[in-house]
């Protein structure tokens, strides 16, 4: 049987011409999330079924009765995208077994934002990962509930401004740390896990493709910059996402069958202040705040290096 997912490594020369999305979608100017989604779908190709949780990507691609999607796609609630994806995967297996479906290797792609993944969809995701269905989960993390008006989520980083954690004198911005979603997923011991961002488009596409080739669940966490909610100019979206990686605030790595593989270390690591000061949602930070965040970033990265050094 022909494989559903192309195995070729993606570079600019071998960039797939395929697009799963049509133009005319209603994303904001300079949306980093729809860009990440477009690139991921390019890597996956047309033999997919997409199950989407509620979120920006659902709202902007399907203003009913229109749709941007050129592949089979369905929208379900925030909390059950992984459960529905599991069901579709099971249905495909059953149909193939009964000989009623040719090409039963169609890949199931489940996607959600940070709200649909680390907040509301957490338990159905955990269940699907544990049961080990054959799917790729794409989490597009823009670090708040952006399409309803920038409300905080558990993925909003510490100190960030949102409309529900405004800048008060006692509590300037969010007081709690960002939930370690990737760590939680890692503890399900799935075959493939990776972090990516659209600032490194080929890295993102190749990780999605590698994830889709494993049998069983794969999880790709994508940091998707949001110009509206992060308070950045639309043309700086890619620059800011790149700074997140260059400052080690958002390190790129893979976990393949439990083995951590850290992306190539950058030549000159930048202070995290460069990443934070580029965004309006962090403009209130004091030198002390910046120093504390820098320490958190260094500690997280040291831990990651230790994990990657294990045989």
């Amino acid at each position: 049987m022909e494989a559903a997912i192309d195995t070729q490594k993606i570079s600019m020369k071998s960039l797939p011409a395929f697009e799963a999305l049509a133009s005319g979608h209603r994303a904001c100017q300079g949306c980093g999330e729809v860009l990440a989604m477009r690139l991921a779908m390019k890597a996956l190709g047309e033999r997919i079924i997409v199950v989407s949780a509620t979120g920006c990507m659902e709202v902007i691609t399907t203003p009913y009765p229109q749709t941007s999607w050129l592949v089979p796609w369905m929208h379900v609630a925030f909390e059950n995208a992984s459960a529905v994806g599991s069901g579709v995967a099971g249905a495909l297996l059953a149909l193939a077994r009964k000989g009623r479906l040719a090409g039963g290797d169609t890949k199931i792609v489940i996607m959600g934002g940070d709200g649909g993944t680390s907040d509301i969809g957490m338990q159905s995701l955990s269940g699907a990962l544990e049961r080990g269905h054959d799917f790729v989960y794409l989490c597009f993390d823009n670090e708040a509930y952006m399409n309803t008006g920038i409300q905080r989520s558990s993925a909003t980083p510490r100190c960030a401004w949102t409309t529900t954690c405004p800048l008060g004198e006692e509590q300037p911005g969010k007081q709690e740390a960002k939930k370690d979603l990737v760590g939680i997923v890692e503890k399900h011991h799935i075959p493939y896990l990776a972090t990516a961002t659209p600032a490194y488009p080929f890295d993102l596409m190749n990780k999605v493709r590698r994830g889709a080739q494993v049998k069983g669940p794969a999880f790709i966490h994508v940091l998707a910059p949001c110009p509206t909610g992060w308070r950045i100019p639309t043309h700086e979206v890619i620059k800011v996402a790149r700074l997140a990686v260059q400052t080690r605030d958002y390190p790129l790595y893979e976990v393949v069958n439990g083995k951590y593989i850290l992306g190539k270390p950058g030549k000159n690591v930048k202070p995290v202040a460069e990443y934070l000061k580029a965004q309006g949602r962090f403009k209130h930070l004091s030198e002390n705040d910046l120093a504390a965040i820098q320490q958190e970033v260094d500690e997280r990265f040291a831990q990651l290096q230790w994990l990657a050094s294990r045989p």
């Binding site: 049509a22 005319g24 209603r26 904001c28 009765p65 229109q66 749709t67 043309h235």
Partner: protein, 303 residues
């Protein structure tokens, strides 16, 4: 009760304008409410916000369908959305129009009372950026009263902090520069509003129209893949378009890879082509072009 509808683009502050005015009216001892049209927040897309002001408590909680006054923050919206939709005959329109763009006055002049002001210029000269939401409030006060420039100081101070002085200056200047003509003696009856009734499916795909419950298909299935392509998001651009310098362009494709809207594409012979129909004008391509071959210029610039 006075009902006012604001037309702007996402990010221009139409919602903030309605809210500031409501706060000022409340300080004056009136009742007021301000709220946006519910929908996803999309920078650049046409948005509406609503304001009700009354001497009596307001029990209505719905969108304003037939406003007394319409406020237009962005002149490019006039040809794009029906800003006069439902406006009462002889009603007030407060428009941000450059001196060169006063053609719109003729379009609406015999039906409505059109107060025009070059709010974009005032905003650039006072605040430094073309954000017109505070300037246009000065015009609205001149045209409709509602509150006074003095009362606006408190809410503006609270909202803008150290930027309040500049915004108050914009408010003041717009108040002074707004021309309010006499109301038309016999306003011609408004054209019947184009409803969704009798609209073909193809026409529906062209417009920003959500269906109501009894028009939904069971399961909400959509059998036209990629149908948003009929909806051209190019008219969201308000701050320039990318211009490709063919001398410098090497067709490397990074603008194509980084474009969220599929507006930079390869032609059959491998060149990069800009698609004006969908480009929202974010400027990522210009920022990321490794050869510096793309620059953001004014719309009118010849390619």
């Amino acid at each position: 009760m006075m009902e006012i509808r604001f037309h702007g683009r996402g990010g221009q502050g139409a919602v903030t304008a309605a809210e500031l005015m409501a706060r000022a009216a409340i300080l004056d001892g009136k009742y007021a409410q301000a709220f946006p049209n519910f929908g996803p927040e999309r920078r650049g897309a046409p948005v509406t916000a609503f304001l009700r002001v009354s001497e009596q408590p307001i029990y209505l909680r719905e969108k304003i369908e037939s406003p007394d006054t319409v406020v237009v923050l962005d002149p490019t919206l006039i040809d794009l959305v029906n800003v006069a939709d439902g406006l009462k005959p002889g009603g007030m329109m407060v428009m941000n129009l450059a001196a060169s763009g006063r053609g719109a006055l003729a379009k609406y002049g015999d039906q409505f009372q059109v107060a025009a002001v070059d709010a974009s210029r005032i905003a650039v000269e006072t605040i430094g950026i073309p954000v017109t939401n505070t300037a246009i409030l000065g015009s609205l006060i001149k045209a409709c009263g509602i509150t006074s420039l003095k009362t606006m100081e408190g809410p503006m101070q609270r909202r803008f902090g150290r930027l309040a002085a500049k915004n108050l200056l914009a408010l003041q200047r717009a108040f002074e520069e707004t021309e309010v003509p006499e109301a038309p003696a016999a306003p011609s009856p408004a054209a019947p509003a184009a409803g969704q009734e009798g609209c073909t499916y193809a026409e529906l795909l062209q417009r920003e129209a959500l269906l109501v419950w009894d028009q939904l298909q069971i399961g909400c299935d959509i059998d036209l893949p990629g149908s948003t392509a009929a909806f051209h998001t190019g008219n969201w651009r308000s701050a320039g378009r990318p211009y490709i310098d063919r001398e410098k362009c090497v067709s490397c494709g990074f603008c194509h890879v980084y474009c969220p809207d599929l507006a930079m594409n390869f032609t059959d012979d491998g060149a990069i082509e800009w698609d004006h129909r969908y480009c929202k004008g974010c400027g990522i391509c210009a920022e990321e072009c490794p050869k510096g071959a793309i620059s953001m210029r004014e719309e009118s610039h010849e390619q």
